[in-house]
């Protein structure tokens, strides 16, 4: 690998962290969906670049899956759902943006502190790839925790999953079978959650997850 090759891989993986922060920052529904599409696209490019570097053609399929399903299909579908259900266009957060972003920074720092010392033996690229991936996973979790809206939580979950794919490709490529199964599981999760949304809509007239809490008898 030439320095330029690693630089491009580094830049793509780093951009994913940046896009994760954009997801965390964004409080409007459609912009959020668009940014999630960008997240998936960057992932696709990153995986494709890995495929090129590692001479592993099966990773191209992974990249294609990311591009088509997560980069196009899911955002479009969610977009339709939002329009059809008339979901409120701004997403409420539990915590305001500033502290969330600061906490996100701390999480990135934490993943660096955790990852870099334990991967001393691995190559430089694998190390930074794993650190980036862990940050993306943690940021996805943070997003799921801080968003009240079900759509926001779905996006958080899927960005988390993107982080897992990034980790898998960085660590010497994952078998294609696993990859497809992961993609399908996400798709299924998405379908289930989609149906779930319709259910919530029928019964509670909202996609705010606080409505679920109330049905359990908890106060909001």
């Amino acid at each position: 690998m030439t320095p330029l090759d690693t630089d491009i891989a580094h830049l793509l993986a780093g951009s994913m962290v940046l896009v994760s922060f954009l997801l965390l920052y964004q409080d409007r529904m459609f912009a959020l969906l668009n940014i999630f599409a960008v997240h998936a696209w960057v992932l696709a490019f990153s995986v494709a670049w890995q495929a090129h570097l590692q001479q592993a053609p099966h990773l191209f399929i992974t990249a294609l899956i990311a591009l088509v399903f997560k980069g196009v299909f899911i955002p479009v579908a969610l977009h339709r759902i939002v329009v059809r259900l008339g979901i409120h266009r701004s997403i409420e957060s539990v915590v305001s943006v500033g502290p969330t972003m600061l906490f996100g920074m701390a999480l990135v720092a934490l993943s660096i502190v955790v990852m870099l010392p334990v991967t001393e033996a691995a190559g430089a690229f694998v190390r930074e790839d794993l650190a980036f991936a862990l940050s993306i996973v943690l940021l996805g979790l943070l997003m799921m925790v801080t968003r009240r809206n079900a759509v926001g939580q779905v996006i958080g979950f899927m960005s988390l999953e993107n982080g897992l794919v990034l980790a898998a490709t960085g660590a010497r490529g994952m078998p294609l079978v696993v990859e497809i199964s992961v993609a399908f599981s996400v798709l299924i999760a998405f379908i289930i959650i989609g149906i779930f949304l319709f259910r919530i809509r029928e019964r509670f007239d909202s996609v705010d997850v606080r409505a679920l809490d109330m049905s359990r008898g908890e106060s909001p």
Binding site: L4, T6, H10, L18, F21, M101, M105, A109, I112
Partner: protein, 317 residues
């Protein structure tokens, strides 16, 4: 040493002469993009001459601070602009002031301008000063975080050393530098009172920030302040060019050809960045005042993220 002095002197004069031209060029391009013919690119020079020839009208209860502040603002901005390498690095004053000093010098200029806005005791002056300091309270740390990123990357806070490091081997595409660049662009837009933070051409009082602060100035005082403002724009563009596109810049003491190349590439960079700035400005609408802190805190976050991610790829010097 002597060459260093010559280059430094040339740079001091160059920024002074070039600054209004940059403003003129950006105004011209903006007009063209809006399908207007626009004024000549030399209009800012004419404006300055016109202002200088007019009598200065000063409010009755203004103090000595009001009349000295323009000169202090101009002097500190000029000095800061002269410290950023434009066409040649290795300037004599590089050893006297690093990029943190440049940021702080701009802070001194802002401090006096904000005081001048409060001096007469009018509400527009107050509103301008207050908002300017609020923007600065986010823009300045963002700027310093950009400085941190670049300085940790290059192992120096001196612009000449940074510029040399950036052209050297071992510098590739780096996510931290990309983040720092975006953050620096945001800070530049805010600090130079450009759209979407402030509108340099507005005449609607409530939307003004920088203009509101200098509302009471006229005549020669206004001319000096306007000159300082255009120099600040030049400074930020030069700073971006010096750190992120250091190609073609020569080193003080090399031959005439190298100087010509350095000067030519510098002018080219100025034109390119000016053009990009204007395209961005035309494409976007001005923000509400209280959206600006969010815009600036993005820069702050990007700067911090840049510093943190710096540790992933390599341990900096």
């Amino acid at each position: 040493m002597i060459r260093g002095w010559h280059t430094q002197l040339a740079q001091i004069v160059l920024v002074l002469l070039l600054a209004p031209l940059l403003s003129g060029v950006t105004r011209k391009i903006k007009s063209r993009l809006l399908r207007r013919r626009g004024t000549s690119v030399f209009q800012p020079y004419r404006d300055l001459l016109k202002l200088i020839r007019k009598e200065a009208v000063v409010a009755e209860n203004s103090s000595w601070l009001f009349r000295t502040a323009p000169y202090i603002v101009f002097a500190t901005t000029w000095l800061a602009a002269a410290l950023v390498p434009t066409f040649a690095t290795g300037l004599t004053f590089s050893a006297a002031a690093d990029v943190i000093v440049i940021v702080a010098l701009l802070g001194t200029a802002r401090f006096f301008l904000a005081l001048a806005g409060l001096d007469v005791g009018t509400s527009f002056g107050g509103i301008g000063s207050s908002r300017e300091m609020m923007f600065a309270s986010l823009a300045e740390p963002a700027m310093l975080l950009v400085v941190f990123t670049v300085a940790l990357f290059a192992g120096s806070t001196q612009l000449s050393s940074i510029s040399a490091h950036m052209t050297g081997p071992g510098v590739g595409l780096n996510i931290s530098l990309a983040l720092a660049l975006i953050a620096l662009i945001i800070v530049s837009i805010a600090e130079n009172a450009r759209v979407p933070v402030d509108n340099p051409a507005t005449h609607l009082e409530l939307t003004m920030v920088h203009e509101a602060m200098i509302l009471e100035y006229s005549g020669r005082h206004l001319a000096v302040i306007e000159a300082a403002a255009s120099m600040k724009l030049l400074l930020y563009v030069s700073l971006i060019a010096c750190i992120f596109t250091p190609w073609g810049t020569t080193v003080a003491g090399s031959g005439a050809v190298a100087y010509a190349i350095g000067l030519g590439s510098y002018l080219l960079k100025l034109a390119a960045f000016g053009f990009m700035l204007v395209v961005f400005e035309t494409a976007i609408a001005k923000m509400r005042v209280f959206r600006v802190p969010e815009f600036l805190s993005v820069a702050l976050m990007l700067g911090l993220l840049g510093v943190i991610l710096l540790f992933i790829s390599r341990v900096p010097q």
